[in-house]
């Protein structure tokens, strides 16, 4: 499997997109608690990653959990 596909399979964001999509399609309100419910939380996570990585460049892959 291509490296990108492997990476994206792990993506909690994409899994959440699919869950929400299913909820919408089946007329359910959906109760999933997403990884980031606020923008502040999202930014806090990125800052945390950057502080851990130090001089190494921040990559979008770092946010994939």
């Amino acid at each position: 499997m291509a490296k990108k596909d492997k990476l994206l399979k792990k993506s909690r964001f994409l899994n959440s997109v699919n869950s929400l999509r299913e909820a919408i399609a089946s007329d359910k309100s959906g109760s999933e608690k997403f990884q980031y419910s606020t923008r502040e939380g999202y930014i806090g996570k990125i800052l945390e990653i950057i502080m851990e990585k130090k001089e190494k460049k921040f990559l979008k892959e770092d946010l994939i959990v």
């Binding site: 994206l8 997109v17 929400l20 419910s37 606020t38 923008r39 939380g41 001089e55």
Partner: protein, 361 residues
Amino acid sequence: MPVGLIFMRWNEVAGNEILAKFPEDLDVPDRTLMQVFHTHEYTGETGMISLMVGTTNIASYYTGPESNYCVLIVLGLGEDPDVYESSLAEVAQILLQNLDNDKYLKLIPSLYHHIRDYPFFNSEQQLIYLYQNDVKRGIITQLRDEGVVTKSQLITWLRQTYPRGFGDIDLTLFEFIQKDFIQMHSVKDERSMVIFFINDIVMFRKPAFNILKGPHGKGLPKNFEATYMNSSNLFFQNYNPSEEDNLKIINILKNPQAYELLNLLRDNVIKNNDFDRLKKTGIPDIENVFETLLEAQIIMKFQDIEGTTFYALLTDFFITNLTPEYILSVLQKYNKNRTKSKDILSKYLNLLEEAYINSFP
């Protein structure tokens, strides 16, 4: 590179009226300026035109028949006028907002420099410059909360929020589409085009890691190393990103001299002995820029017993665009409350998914 800028308006009695130009000795024949105005009049629309008059290469932005102003730049032969469109539009908006008491006059030199420099901005500078614009920042802030709006809803909101005007919304939306912040699509049962927010701008201070890993190797005397590193640790122990702080930094770094200095400081500690050299290589206002960076706690300074001053980067700046992953909570609420149609929500999820996947190499 633009040779000069002219700000003018059309007067029914006097014809062309030049309100300001930079440099002062810029000489463009009256008949050329009339030709510019007549070309704008022919289209009757707000927007940019470009034309060659003899060997004079001109790009001009018209504010529309209601206000009747024009911002025109004279370009070098062979220069592409299209790269100046968004900055010309922005400058026109700034000038219109500063007509009272001729406030625009003292802005003219810096506005010319902005138009001149903008096409050479790297992606980081472009994000900085976009975010310092009140209207563009306002739209992004609105989209962070709403996720998806129709174009007519956005225009209604803009009219309420910016009663003095908000510039050319189509040009702004086009820029946002080009920079991948949004997509616009027609959706069933919606009369207006729908705007979907697919990339946010994220920014905050971060430690100057490149200097911290070895300050002495970057030019800081050994006896200052411990103080420097402790200052950085202390700053970030108490640091919480805020919009107010981000805007303070953005408004500093939008100045190309400040940005250039930041880039130099990312790699090296700078001494006051370097000032004369740096003035000649693109930072003529270096003393003032350093003062501004000091006040904002972007840099700190040290002085040795011989009187040499060392400037070290205390806080670097991180700015990038990223998928707004938090927006799923907003969409979930819309779904729960049935405040947006299934078509819109499904479309949005598809666009987010596609934008997210495509953002990885």
